[in-house]
Symmetry: C2
Subunit: 398 residues, 2 copies
């Protein structure tokens, strides 16, 4: 049995209790051509790609039924997670309708969510197919969002998953240590990124996000920090160097930011403005960490950190304090974020034991660049465990 | 300028005429967290990933407007394809609504389609966000599918795109030639797949589909052929070896099937049943190729091939004769497929000059295995050009 199918079986074992908890009778994942439009739930509960319209039905009472096209069936059989595989040739609709009628659910959860992209894998085209398939049956009016189900299932990491995340973080920290030795003045952002890329290739790893922006490398104050690639800007004395990097190892991600300061002539430590910002960003992250525990809402964690940083005189960060981490770098579910419209309901979600979050905040230091910190933490029964070794001191060069 | 942004600009230049042709005033691509839920149109008209809710508006009169979150803006700027980039922090909705009101379109095409997965990138969650955003405006009732727009844009390959596809096919044929030298009796399917994988890594290529099923390797008659990975089954004299393989090179795919027959003791050529099936499959592919030209409907091409194979006494293939090929192995739009429900309207689409298709059919030979042929062709003004060098003879071993 491959690791992929072990992981799928482990997550599938969690499903019935989670459906029961959220009052859902049937959870339906409905996909087509998943190389083009991959539902993020496929990695969790299917473990292979599908070409034709394919339906995966998981019931509160533990049934697992796959309805797939003839040529997709062997791949689904190979994973071995679905005891009942129904094969079709010309149309998925009749057998899908029959199967739903047989299970007779009061609620059918589908993968759509305005708040949580990780629970929003159902395309609108397939939603129309489903509506038409169920038209005239009572089930057409029993469709609900699987947002909470997916949030619980992705969020509650098994010990096997946590070990995977630890391993990804371990590789990332080793790569940072290698890069650290090579930082000096006059290095282009693109050259620094190439050191990361070579090491990722050598280790046979993947990237936690788009390789062109992984790592992000930002040197000095000239650049707008964001989701962008490295440029020809060069490191120089008296400025900061910021990096944001994560790997994908055995299906799980890391996501860390690390910081350098290049000492100027005559300096033996960073200047006061840099130290003050560093301390303020860390104080705000610690303020968030102090309230991160099971049962709190995500926005309360962000609010503690945000208040701390703003009280210290820095701009309010225009992003969340943290997101969940797992199969994806942005793993969905509860967010440690302010109650802004674009986050939808995600910041109202509860923090639970077994969730893995990033904690990431930052501040601009005029004339020096951007200080961005990011660590990865596991929520425990009464607080958190740092999965990464926190960078409590700036890395100094020169 | 990178090749990626060259390609995006080239496709964007095609957009206004295509919108005009299909009577669409505004085409809106609306996405979030595209690492989780990538709209296949992003590669064509955006060229980077997005984290926050992001809207890309292309108008019939040539306007190109991106509405993106603060941290996504630098990445979109870096591609350089959108002259107007509007940045937001807390909510995309007010500025999206204002922008649509300013453009005042009679029709707004969105990326949903029940028939064409390549035009079905809009998630149902984001469709709900859009509906709510436009509620109370006349635009809420002007939403249509972008299926035909996307079909035309993806389908009509530029000369630059065709060169990319040729290059991917060239690599694939070189790899098949290398593998060909290594085929003998007693090779496991997994070992044969490993030869392909090593060569893909050595050349720095990607896979046209999931690596675990690319190549598909099927030896002998024991296995159900489909989208599945290689097994421990071994090649042996007197049986067929079937492979289905494609690479991703510089953003474009190839997709070819190649066949071996392992001569049995005393044989100097394949037995009669194998030769008959080979000839029948080729005759059916040629029957399809003979009617493939601009202006015919996809199902007519499939029907010609299907009738030929069935008339020769073989089972009707339970799949399409061909799909388009480009950025994706299954590139959407018009399909050379029967009028089965699961294909929706795609087989009714017209074949156009500049389309690139696979032609792929197959037959079981009892006791020997599966004969599957697949070539890649370009539709020209009056017929087709073979982009791959057709395998007109079985490759014999022993």
């Amino acid at each position: 049995m491959t690791d992929a199918s072990t992981l799928v079986r482990e997550k599938l074992d969690q499903v019935p209790a989670i459906l029961d908890e959220h009052g859902v009778d049937l959870w339906l994942t409905f996909v087509h051509e998943t190389m083009l439009t991959p539902d993020p739930c496929l990695d969790l509960v299917v473990g292979t790609s599908c070409t034709w319209q394919s339906a995966f039905l998981l019931s509160r009472s533990g049934e697992r039924i796959a309805i797939v096209g003839r040529f997709d069936a062997p791949g689904v059989e190979q994973v071995g997670a679905y005891p009942e595989i129904v094969m079709y040739d010309e149309s998925v609709r009749p057998v899908l309708k029959e199967t739903i009628e047989r299970l007779d659910p009061d609620t059918i959860a589908l993968n759509y969510s305005a708040s949580d992209p990780a629970a929003d894998g159902l395309t609108h085209g397939l939603w129309l197919v489903l509506r038409e398939t169920l038209e005239g049956t009572p089930y057409a009016d029993r469709l609900v969002s699987s947002g909470q189900v997916v949030g619980s299932l992705r969020g509650r990491k098994s010990s096997f998953e946590i070990e995977r995340i630890r391993a990804a973080i371990g590789e990332t920290e080793e790569i940072f240590a290698l890069v650290r030795e090579q930082i000096g003045p006059g290095r282009k952002e693109t050259e620094i990124a190439a050191v990361f890329h070579d090491e990722v290739s050598r280790r046979g790893l993947g990237y936690a996000w788009e390789a062109g922006q992984c790592p992000a490398v930002d040197t000095g104050p000239e650049k707008e920090v964001g989701h962008t690639g490295p440029t020809e800007l060069q490191t120089r004395p008296g400025v900061l160097l910021h990096t944001d990097f994560g790997v994908l190892k055995d299906g799980y991600c890391s996501d860390l930011q690390r910081m350098w300061y290049l000492l100027d002539e005559g300096e033996s430590e960073p200047p006061g403005d840099v130290i003050a910002a560093w301390d303020a960003v860390w104080a705000s992250m610690d303020a968030g960490a102090a309230v991160l525990r099971p049962g709190v809402q995500g926005h309360a964690v962000d609010a503690a950190a945000r208040a701390s940083l703003v009280a210290a005189g820095y701009d309010e960060p225009m992003h969340a304090l943290g997101h969940q981490l797992g199969r994806a770098a942005h793993d969905g579910g509860t967010l440690l974020a302010p109650l802004w419209d674009r986050y939808g309901d995600s910041p109202r979600g509860l923090v639970e034991e077994g969730h893995v979050y990033t904690l990431e905040y930052g501040a601009q230091v005029p004339g020096r660049g951007y200080i961005g910190l990011e660590e990865d933490v596991l929520v425990t029964a009464d607080g958190l465990e740092w999965l990464s070794a926190p960078q409590r001191e700036l890395w100094l060069v020169g």
